[in-house]
């Protein structure tokens, strides 16, 4: 490379876009050319300075103001479909209940849900917990089939933690990954005080990679 080549390739070099051979040629020229060393240093400084150009803070109460305007202009009640389906049928006799849904927007029906998933692809299943009052430090336990994991927890088929529940609907979002074909149950247990609620979801991958969900059983104690 000569000085013109360096100039023409300097951004690709900085961005790591040059292939190995060009990178070596670039650096070989650089090691013997103080002008091009200066060019590179100035370019890197320029990019570094660009990152430091700040934005003035938004005006006071910007956040409150924009959301208030959304509320004002969209004041009509929006029918939210998510809570329909399983929840209404199941909820009647429980102060606390679980329901299952996915991130899909298709109408939910009281039939087994069928969701396509490829192996090693994250697919989120959401459990809804409707609390008739705020609950502090409820214990949640999740047990997974052997072929499934929650994204970010590759070693665990059992997860347990404490969380607070707000009055009303709370959503537990479980990003599931099928590591291999198989079937089993996802079991979610909520414990607080002497009360336990249990939710089971049948899960299996089909031959074509579709993960089937089926609401299987609910227990309360």
């Amino acid at each position: 490379m000569n000085c013109t080549d360096i100039t023409n390739n300097i951004d690709d070099y900085i961005d790591g876009q040059l292939d190995h051979a060009d990178t070596l040629a670039f650096e070989a020229h650089l090691s013997n050319c103080s002008d091009c060393q200066d060019r590179l240093e100035n370019s890197q400084r320029m990019l570094s300075e660009l990152k430091m150009i700040d934005v003035p803070a938004a005006s006071k109460n910007f956040e409150q103001r924009v959301f208030a305007e959304v509320r004002r202009q969209h004041s009509h009640k929006t029918q939210y479909k998510f809570a329909a389906g399983f929840s209404t049928a199941i909820a009647a006799s429980f102060a606390l209940w679980f329901t299952a849904s996915t991130f899909f927007t298709e109408p939910l029906v009281e039939e087994p849900l069928m969701v396509s998933i490829s192996l090693h692809e994250v697919r989120t299943v959401r459990l809804m917990i409707d609390a008739d009052m705020a609950i502090n430090q409820a214990q949640l336990n999740i047990s997974l089939p052997a072929n499934l994991r929650i994204d970010g927890y590759p070693e665990n088929t059992e997860l347990s933690w404490q969380t607070d529940l707000s009055e009303g609907q709370n959503i537990l979002s479980l990003p599931l990954i099928a590591l291999e074909h198989g079937q089993g149950e996802l079991v979610a247990k909520l414990n607080y005080g002497s009360k336990t609620k249990e939710f089971r979801l049948s899960l299996k991958t089909s031959a074509d990679g579709a993960l089937q969900y089926q609401l299987h059983e609910m227990k309360s104690a």
């Binding site: 200066d38 370019s43 924009v66 969209h74 939210y80 927007t105 809804m128 404490q162 969380t163 979002s173």
Partner: protein
Amino acid sequence: MNIARHIWPFNKDPHVQFEALVKPHLNKLYKLAYRLTNQRDDAEDLVQEVLLTVYPRLEEMQTLEKPGPWLSKILYRKFVDQYRKQKRSLIDYTDDDQSIHDSQIDTSLQPAENLDNAQTRSMLGLALEKLNEDQRTLIMLHDVEGYTLQEISDMQDTPIGTLKSRINRARTKLRETIHKMEPNAQLQRVDKVEGE
């Protein structure tokens, strides 16, 4: 073990849901809007319009694993469709834009002595004003705000290779403009040579 971050209150009020979903992205949206409009009031208005636009799409938003890029894309499109059209017609910005080629740095020029940061920053602000709006936007998105080429490609419906070329040209123009702002650039080189 803590995956409690995966649980959040789910109020039946769609406005509460909307705000919980959008709030984490509001600052980034504002910054993006400011980078595009370069005016605080315009940036705030742009964000406001985006929120009003996306509120009816709450359910769609809740299906997204990453609503941030989706919101950014809508904001960018709204900027292009509304704000920018108010100020000028869009430039037909093609790869063989001769005016941009003409501004490529003259490699016969010797680079100036390394500039200190304050100098660079001061000249950088002026040099950015010399870019055309498309170039400035690209530099702001990619080099200032750190949006990836893929994210910008999604926003602008432009191939990554084309974006990369445009960014390189914009950087070249910045360098050239900064270089021209150095009244003693050539003199410094002469001094250096004479001193060797």
